[in-house]
Symmetry: C2
Subunit: 142 residues, 2 copies
């Protein structure tokens, strides 16, 4: 039986985060000691590992909730899990494309820095001049 702290260490999760997952129903309410402290077993270690690994792959918590659901019903079709993963891959590729464009522009900006004073700073100039760039209005690499 593990304390919340050791579970955290085992899975690379902060204690507060584990409690947060419990609060939003992603982790089950665990057993408690007489004094009211949480105690965890192997099932919980596995579940939390699954969650953390999925998070590291960028899956949003709602997608993880679906995946856990699929995982709990072994007779359902694999296609659903597959399509969730595909959706996630699309997201990742989209973000990569955006970041690539950003990197290019940032590099250009930096290369042109004269090192003088800000009055003729290329960095600020590029930032000011909106027209030069591919005006991707809902931009940001979110």
């Amino acid at each position: 039986m593990l304390t919340i702290g050791s579970l955290g260490k085992k899975t690379g999760t902060k204690v507060q985060t584990i409690r947060y997952y419990e609060q939003i129903g992603l982790m089950p309410e665990p057993g408690r000691t007489e004094g009211g402290q949480r105690r965890y077993g192997d099932t919980e270690v596995d579940r939390l590992s699954f969650i953390r690994h999925s998070r590291q792959l960028g899956f949003p918590l709602e997608a993880i909730r679906e995946l856990l659901d699929l995982s709990d019903n072994p007779d359902r079709s694999c296609h659903e899990a597959d399509s969730i993963a595909r959706r996630q891959l699309k997201q990742v590729e989209l973000r990569m494309d955006r970041l690539k464009a950003l990197r290019t522009e940032l590099k250009r900006m930096i290369q042109e820095c004269s090192g003088g004073n800000t009055a003729d700073c290329k960095v600020l100039e590029v930032l000011r001049d909106h027209s030069e760039c591919l005006t991707d209005h809902d931009g940001i690499g979110a």
Copy 2:
């Protein structure tokens, strides 16, 4: 003189977002009509364009605040702007590296999907098996 709506259209910014920037002191308080509606001039168009363009390049609002500050003081050194940009480039490259790793793992996952039922779904299996991956504990492509 522009209304907040036309300023928004000109710069690709939602009205609420402009008010939010004002609230956090990134945009100045503009003049008002007798009825209390905001009216903007060219200065504000420029400033907001600068902000939006910087956001599209992924700069956090705090960095933009610094950049605007530099921009307002033309006698200060360009190096500060340069180093902010460099910091930002580092962030972008870090995120790209992470996303690249994620993409690889996601692709592998998807390719191995058998299409059967979830009991032997590779996607779920990979997600369950934490050991296979480069355990990047504070991971996420944030």
